[in-house]
């Protein structure tokens, strides 16, 4: 088996200058949301690490995550990323089909230490029959592939947390990769969750670049998300935050406040509870992000976002708080009126039974 080239070697082979490499490293640092001073460290790391084999598995998904990645407006970086890895299996992107395709996956799995990328959730209800590829259930395929993997990157909210397939009532018993590991259904490997519906393309490439550059899992939050992209909430990084602090809110999507770009909290923006890089990295090559274009954050990078109440209801506004209110009021009135009848009866019977006090009563 031929030795895989280091990334720097790979780039040099393509005739890329050191100056270009330096630019690449600076852009990569920015992409990974690392301080610019990290560029030399990146350059050094890229000189050492080898181009790993990557297997991309797609399960219950909409291909949105792949679309996002390929619509990345940093094709240079993207192409470099694909130069940096050996993408050995990807439904949508690979040329091979049928048995040849599956064969490619089996080949790649022969050398342990590959990276597994997953998009889509995995149905486990009824033996996992709700989604199969080449006659193999998603669960089985994931189980086999993960066995010898170095790490798993869950791309998108479905793979990370179950996403929309898992939304109530979850007919297929869909679950994310981490959940399957927690349930012991697949081997436990390091997992990086890159949620979002879809994730920001630059975040996908940034996370991969980080893993490849430093050969290690980046620091993660409690939900397994890289802190450099998911460490802050949208709200904290939002350019409209000053309006929130001043109490200036758009009340409808077409009022004065909306035109002036005021805070969308009252229109249901989930920015405060959503962790993602939208407010800084933005979308479409840094052009904009939902809040900048006038729509609140829907919280797509958080678990259960689909079932977390209306997208258009303020975060502090409850889902349906008064659903028992009428019943409770009636029950309260019933108890209260019941007590008042009892009390009045007790009081009047005490009055009726009143024995006029005499001097004798004073002496015990």
């Amino acid at each position: 088996m031929n030795r895989r080239p280091t990334i720097a070697e790979q780039l040099a082979r393509q005739g890329i200058s050191r100056r270009a490499f330096l630019k690449f490293c600076a852009a990569t640092a920015s992409l990974m949301a690392l301080p610019p001073g990290m560029a030399p460290a990146i350059a050094e790391a890229l000189g050492k690490i080898r181009r790993p084999s990557v297997i991309w598995l797609s399960f219950q998904e909409c291909t949105g995550c792949t679309e996002s990645l390929t619509r990345s407006h940093s094709p240079t970086v993207e192409s470099l990323i694909f130069d940096m890895i050996s993408l050995d299996y990807h439904h949508t992107l690979q040329a091979a089909s049928g048995e040849a395709a599956e064969h490619a996956r089996e080949e790649a799995m022969k050398e342990p230490g590959y990276l597994v990328l997953v998009d889509g959730s995995i149905p486990i209800k009824d033996g996992g029959i709700y989604s199969t590829i080449a006659g193999i259930s998603n669960l089985q395929m994931l189980k086999d592939t993960v066995e010898n993997a170095a790490a798993v990157v869950s791309i998108g909210t479905c793979a990370a947390f179950g996403g929309i397939p898992m939304a109530n009532p979850n007919p297929t018993g869909a679950a994310g990769v981490q959940a399957l590991m927690d349930q012991g259904l697949i081997a436990r490997k390091p997992v990086i969750n890159v949620p979002g519906c879809p994730p920001i393309p630059a975040v996908i490439t940034g996370v991969l670049a980080h893993y490849l550059t430093f050969g290690a899992i980046p620091p993660l939050d409690a939900l397994g998300r890289p802190l450099n992209f998911y460490g802050d909430s949208i709200h904290d990084r939002c350019y409209r935050r000053p309006f929130y602090d001043q109490g200036k809110f758009a009340k409808t999507f077409d009022d004065e406040g909306a035109r002036k770009g005021w805070c969308l909290f009252e229109l249901g923006c989930k920015g405060p509870t959503t962790h993602n890089a939208c407010a800084t990295t933005k979308w479409n090559d840094g052009t904009s992000f939902p809040i900048e274009s006038g729509h609140g954050c829907i919280g797509c990078s958080e678990p259960n976002f689909w079932d977390a109440g209306s997208f258009y209801k303020a975060l502090s506004a409850p889902a349906d708080p008064l659903s028992f209110a009428a019943g409770a009021a009636v029950a309260g009135a019933a108890v209260g009126v019941g007590m008042s009848f009892m009390n009045r009866a007790k009081k009047s019977s005490a009055k009726a039974a009143h024995e006029t006090a005499t001097l004798k009563d004073l002496e015990k």
Binding site: V335, M339, K347, A350, A357, L359, D361, L362
Partner: protein, 421 residues
């Protein structure tokens, strides 16, 4: 549960009403009522916190009239009230509460604490937990007609004495008189000048008045001990007398509790509105003053201050009248701190003066009055309640202060313009 306790609880069940329920539910244990109570401020003992004096009543309310209280009692979280506990509370409910109602004025959530103490005494009295002294006074009031055991012959003797003294015959049982004058035992026994003062004032004003042979005594121990049934017996004498003599107005003497018992409790005790008016003597005097029927001459030159009897000012609403009258005859009239409705009690109201067990504590808490008085530098103290007067005199003597205590009515009478009448 003893029969007497059962009777007490039954009476409290009758007494507990929406205000009491509201008050207990509003209390946040802030302790501010303690700061308004002279028994706490002068002793520093937290057990004298007014709301704490009602602890057994609170439990009875909760256990009898709230669902959660019933449940708590059932599972043993809320202990039933016992005879021993009530006996323990006797000191708090009687000895260390003068029903002065200062606490009711400061409670930030608005609890009328004295209203509750008054009601709690109903249960305490019939379950046999009233103090001996008060039981004695009440027994005499019911059986003899006056808490100090004063009988009609004693009054008649005083009438003769006054007649000789001031030269005016004291009318008795005069039907159709405008005013029926009541006396308190203390006035009959200790301050006979009062009757003479009334005679002179009435003469100057040209008003008809009378005493009543069946209702000369105004004080009502039934109210103090907290028995409405017994208080009613006493009030009924006055109502019957006033109705028999067809008087327009009944004048309560210089006695705070006598006034509130008749003025505010009376109609509620007999269960119907009165056909006559009830006025305190100071109210009558101030009316006379306003109508020009009260003329005085000369002034007291010593510095004087006026002690507001709680039942007259805070519980009675008579605030401005004594000030008007003081200014008629006193050149150097100074107010004490907190004068008026925030005045501090002398320490002997609410039956405390009749309660020997409370004497030591009463003298201890008199310090507040002593301090107030010293600050004014007054040489004479004037008041309008015979009970306050006795207590003030005792207190001043105890603390070796040589300050005379005078009844306002008598002082006015002494300055009546003698000229024509």
């Amino acid at each position: 549960m003893s029969a007497s306790l059962e009777k007490g609880v039954a009476v409290l069940k009758e007494m507990i009403d929406a205000p009491i329920a509201s008050y207990f539910n509003s209390c946040v244990h802030c302790g501010l009522c303690a700061e308004a109570c002279l028994f706490y401020t002068e002793t520093g003992d937290p057990k004298y916190t007014p709301i704490h004096k009602l602890e057994p009543l609170r439990r009875i309310y909760e256990q009898e009239y709230t669902l959660l209280g019933k449940l708590a009692k059932m599972v043993g979280l809320s202990k039933p009230v016992t005879d021993n506990e009530l006996e323990e509370w006797k000191e708090l409910v009687y000895n260390s509460c003068t029903l002065c109602a200062r606490c009711s004025l400061v409670c930030p959530v608005g609890n009328d604490i004295v209203y509750m103490v008054r009601k709690f005494r109903e249960g305490m009295a019939v379950s046999g937990h009233a103090p001996e002294g008060l039981i004695g006074a009440t027994t005499r009031a019911i059986e003899i007609g006056s808490p100090m055991g004063v009988k009609l012959p004693a009054v008649q003797a005083q009438m003769k004495h006054v007649h000789k003294d001031v030269g005016i015959e004291i009318p008795m049982d005069q039907e159709g008189a405008e005013y029926m004058v009541l006396l308190s035992s203390m006035e009959i026994m200790n301050f006979p000048e009062y009757l003479g003062a009334i005679a002179k004032i009435m003469k100057q004003a040209g008003k008809t008045w009378t005493l009543c042979s069946t209702a000369f005594e105004a004080t009502n121990s039934g109210i103090q001990i907290g028995s409405s049934d017994l208080a009613k017996v006493i009030v009924n004498r006055i109502v019957e007398g006033a109705e028999r003599l067809k008087v327009k107005t009944v004048i309560s003497p210089e006695c705070g509790h006598a006034y509130t018992a008749l003025r505010w409790d009376g109609a509620n005790l007999v269960g119907r509105p009165f056909s006559f008016k009830v006025l305190h003597i100071l109210e009558v005097l101030d009316e006379f003053r306003a109508q020009g029927l009260l003329k005085t001459e000369g002034f007291e030159m010593d510095r004087m201050t006026f002690h507001d009897p709680c039942q007259l000012v805070r519980r009675g609403g008579v605030v401005q009248q004594p000030r008007n009258l003081m200014n008629m005859v006193a050149k150097d009239f100074v107010e004490m701190e907190d004068a008026g409705k925030y005045n501090w009690c002398c320490g002997g109201g609410g039956g405390v003066s009749a309660n020997e067990d409370a004497e030591e504590l009463r003298l201890q808490v008199f310090k507040i009055k002593k301090g107030q008085l010293e600050k004014t530098g007054a040489k004479t103290m004037v008041t309008a309640c015979a009970n306050c007067r006795i207590i003030l005199e005792e207190g001043l003597e105890h603390y070796q202060m040589d300050i005379p205590v005078v009844g306002l009515t008598e002082m006015i009478a002494e300055h009546l313009a003698e000229s024509k009448s």
